[in-house]
Amino acid sequence: MEFFDIKAGIGVFSKPTIYTEAEELLKIMENFSIKKSIVYHSLSKEMSPFEGNEMLLRKIKNYKNLIPSFFLLPKNSGDIENFEKYIEKAKNKGVKIFWITYNTFKIPLSHYLYSGTFEILNEFKIPVIIDPNIPYSGLQADSGDWQGIRLICEKYTDFPVIFTEFRTRFHIRIVIDFLKNYKNFYYDIGSCWNYKVVEKLVEITDGENLVIGTNLPFSEPGQSLGMILISDIPENIKRKIAYENIEKWIT
């Protein structure tokens, strides 16, 4: 089984990690049968999205199996001059996916919506990963702003809104409802560790709209990959979750 990981970081994080460089990540990927990874830069995640984004491109430019992803702040935040041009340039530079980590920057998710941020993303049809967790603020669970995500899923139906978090436990009851009701809502199954959750979500979605993230360099990748490998689901559905569902939006 080969994997397409939607959540891997490189760079020097606030706390020491097992690796920092793209080359080291590639070795780990090989060890865990991860063929491709969507990669972000530590600086983007923790402090400065726009500087970190550029640093990421420099670090991974020689590696086609590392797919660049950019972190974003909302339109008109004062950080950059022209948000629309920034997105267009990013797309031209090969960026395939954007991150919205609203809690890190203490901005309500609804503000991303009402400031017109998603209007522009919708224009370019670039998938978005929403991650509510704040780096180093404990082992966070059940942090999604579901009202905000609901508004986005209802208004912008043509591109995927991928939700990931450190852990979904209580909120799996909400995730199930979203997967049933919104065709553009995608869920990182690595976020939920509950018993037989993969089997249940496959029953609901036929394996569509589910993707997998390892949370490297922090988490033990075997945790999320193991859930796919031994789930009681058909092999073709495993391949969809492990690889194909995200691949079709990236290539």
Binding site: M1, T17, I18, N31, F32, S33, L139, R167, R169, F170, I172, R173, W193, N194, Y195, K196, V197, V198, E199, K200, L216, P217, F218, S219, E220, P221, G222, Q223, S224, L225, G226, M227, I228, L229, I230, S231, D232, E235, K238
Partner: protein, 254 residues
């Protein structure tokens, strides 16, 4: 690449597993328990080649703990070759009630005790936990504790109540010296694990005391099997962790 890892990447586990930490009972406040019937769980154990599991009630907050233990007794009686029952203790109740419930469960074939103070708004390091240790020491019953609190407290119990088989229910390096220094202390692998934890675990903790715990039907089997089977430790140590160590614990203490 080692053999077990290669097979696991194809979704195959072809040796018998022994699970030191699991739950049955069907419900939990925090989430819906999918495919929660006991028969369905047995089918899943068969699919994954799990020979035996130490099982406890899933509703660990402690409401209706007598009822939950009764369900456990019934399931363990129905599947004596597959389940080894550890009854749930609600530490909010008076010592006499706890004593009575342990005695009742013991007479009904329950082999050990499950403690989980934090989920019951109790303290891990507490006289009530010590009371349970003192009482079950007399019957040589093992205890799986969600958390023993401090290593100092665990060591105090281990020194004082020597007939108990102690299980640290969730993995933490803070207990490593106790596990390494005493013959009757075992540690479960189950927990959220940071990158490289299994390799470090095997370097720092005696390999005959590390036991795989799935924490079903709370956690997905893959979440706890993946880190062990995809790790870079030798196959023979994987087999110890996933099978032999718990098998030995059951033979010795249950």
């Amino acid at each position: 690449m080692d053999n077990l890892k290669k097979k696991f990447l194809k979704g195959v586990i072809d040796f018998e597993l022994y699970d030191i930490h699991a739950h049955i009972g069907g419900y939990n406040r925090d989430y819906p328990v999918f495919y929660n019937g006991t028969e369905e769980i047995i089918k899943e154990m068969n699919r994954l080649n799990i020979k035996k599991a130490i099982v406890m009630p899933l509703g660990v907050y402690g409401g209706e703990w007598f009822y939950q233990n009764e369900k456990l007794i019934n399931d363990c009686s129905k599947y004596p070759d597959r389940f080894i029952g550890f009854c749930l203790i609600n530490l909010n109740y008076p010592e006499k009630e706890i004593e009575k419930e342990i005695t009742r469960c013991r007479k009904e074939g329950i082999k050990g005790i499950k403690l989980i103070a934090a989920y019951q708004n109790c303290q891990d390091v507490d006289k009530k936990t010590e009371f349970v240790c003192e009482y079950v020491n007399h019957y040589k019953m093992p205890i799986l504790n969600h958390s023993w609190g401090t290593p100092e407290f665990l060591e105090k119990m281990v020194k004082r109540y020597t007939s108990i088989g102690y299980i640290c229910g969730h993995f933490s390096f803070i207990y490593k010296n106790i596990v390494n220094n005493y013959d009757n202390v075992y540690i479960c692998t189950c927990n959220y694990l940071e990158f490289g934890t299994i390799e470090r675990m095997v370097r720092e903790i005696r390999n005959d005391r590390i036991c795989w715990g799935s924490d079903f039907s709370d956690l997905h089997f893959g979440f706890t099997l993946g880190p062990v089977l995809l790790s870079s430790i030798p196959d023979e140590i994987k087999i110890k962790i996933l099978s032999e160590n718990t098998k030995n614990f059951i033979e010795k203490f249950c």
